[in-house]
């Protein structure tokens, strides 16, 4: 964690001091997390890919003056979230899919039968995620994939911290219910 923080700060420092090419490294470092986050929000691989790419191209315009509070990953996750919102607003559509194109990763030592169970659970999870109200889904994925503190999520969404916490709990409870087959609507 300390190393990651060090590396991120140095990357940002270099980015702000005439080295925009370090953004390639930043992309390689966080692409999976950011694409997963965008997919979870938009449920559409092509749209998610566009959002992540746009975030990095937009960042280049900030070369020399990139500043943020909190972690670099959190900052990027916020940018992706804003991009996803813009897309949804522009297309006036609701996220539908979940993570149908996602590549679930099972533990390497998982036995075939156990892998099949996990795959089935992941399939259910994709569906369940797509059923969550967007505000709850946003808090959930920022927390899980962006690893952002609730305080930061709340600031980003312009809501009290307790509201962000509440949305997260609702989202988790709803997912638990749906995964247990209690809610199928």
């Amino acid at each position: 964690m300390v190393f990651q923080m060090l590396e991120d700060r140095i990357l940002v420092w270099r980015f702000n001091h005439g080295r925009p090419e370090v953004l390639h490294h930043v992309y390689d470092k966080y692409r999976t997390d950011l694409l997963t986050l965008a997919m979870a929000l938009l449920g559409d691989l092509a749209a998610a890919e566009d959002v992540v790419q746009d975030v990095f191209l937009s960042l280049l315009r900030l070369s020399g003056r990139l500043k943020f509070t909190g972690s670099l990953k959190g900052y990027l996750a916020t940018c992706v979230t804003n991009g996803a919102r813009n897309i949804l607003r522009a297309h006036r559509r609701h996220p539908t899919g979940g993570l149908d194109d996602a590549d679930p990763m099972a533990a390497p030592d998982t036995r075939p039968d156990a892998a099949a169970i996990i795959e089935e659970q992941l399939h259910q999870l994709r569906w369940a995620l797509s059923q969550l109200p967007y505000e709850q889904r946003e808090v959930l994925v920022l927390r899980v994939y962006g690893q952002m503190p609730f305080k930061e999520i709340a600031r980003q969404q312009g809501i009290p911290t307790n509201t962000a916490l509440g949305r997260y709990r609702y989202a988790i409870d709803r997912l638990r219910s749906m995964l247990d087959g209690e809610v199928r609507t």
Binding site: L6, H17, Q53, D180
Partner: protein, 436 residues
Amino acid sequence: MRPAEEVYELMQKLRATPRPEYDERVHSAMANAIAELMNTPTAVPQPSIWRTIMESRTTRLAAAAVIVLAAILAVTFFNKTSGIVWAEVVQRLGEIRTVSYRITADIEGMQGTPEGYTTHLTQDVLVSYEPGAVRIDSTLQLPGGTRKSQTYLLFEDRVAITVIPEQKKYFKVIIGEEQMQKMGQENGDPVTLLKAMLEHKYTELGRKSIDGVAAWGIHVSDPKLGTKMGSFISGGMFDQTTVELWVDEKNELPIRIDAAGSSRDGRASMKMVYDGFQWDIPIEPARLKPQIPEDYELVAQAKWEAGREGEEIIDVLRLFVEFADGRYPASLRTVTVVNALAPALKQKLSAKPGQELIARLMKVDMVGMMYTTLEREGKDPAYYGDRVSAAAPQAVLFRWKIGDGTYRVVFGDLRTEDVSADKLIQLEGTSKKEHE
């Protein structure tokens, strides 16, 4: 109902792996945008002062404070055992716009002083990062009296100017464009420093009170520090260097630096203290511009060009043929070179030196830094002045790599020859046998 942790873990397993063609698309789009950005004037900030400051002789001691602490701090990210979040310190330093501080130094064995005499040096330093400029007001107490000078390093003009008001004289060092760019690409930023520093040992000094302020410190001392980190810490001046850095617990910015350097033969040493740091203070632009009256004489003008370090060192060695009967300095650390050359000059130089000679003598002060540059750039330099003189014209005196597997060899008579690595081994083997 399954526990919340299980849902969280399941979500962690849900990952979207970017397709290779998508990765390629993003990298390509970024590369194009970066190329466009780089071609836009002033779109990308110019190489920062951090990356350039240490290359000037005139500022290296003073500016070392800022550079050194960045180097040392970077390492401590990996050892978060103190009360300071070192990452925050480095970030703060990267955001600093101006700083002023004072250096006080006691120098023993300085050329031109009696044995056992301690020379006192005081420097008041002003640094502005945007625009990049440094001003150093120096006071040097010598046996014959006090000598005052002002040095200005102007990054936009790529020039360093030292003014000596009492003598109505000034010196100028012009830094070549390529050298500036090169420094911007590879020197001085925290990542470069971090890599270098990780090869060395460092220790945490814990917490102590400095003038009533709680501070945390670290210490770096390594026999190799003087060579590998030479340009960052002492501009290649000394063979041995140790540095202690103390950071204010409250504002997490440096409060004091203690540095010590010594030559291998122990004849020269220096102890320095950097303190009185004031961060982000307003500085009148006029204070950073030299005001040189018309009746002041330009004593000499030198130039630092990238990639010519080896040739410049040969030019310095040529001074030993002309003035020291071909007896070369034992090492290419600045202090050793100055100590070896100064008595010979005093003895042989009957008239006042001309501008051309002064310009060459100015290179002596940069020789340690030039050698360090060759080391840092992986040019595999080696110097054998401790056993080779002009009396051994076939012996290898100095060499460095000029290309893949090719070395430029400088012999005792300063003749040069480009040879393969195999041939170099043979030549150095012969030189060693002859010496034994």
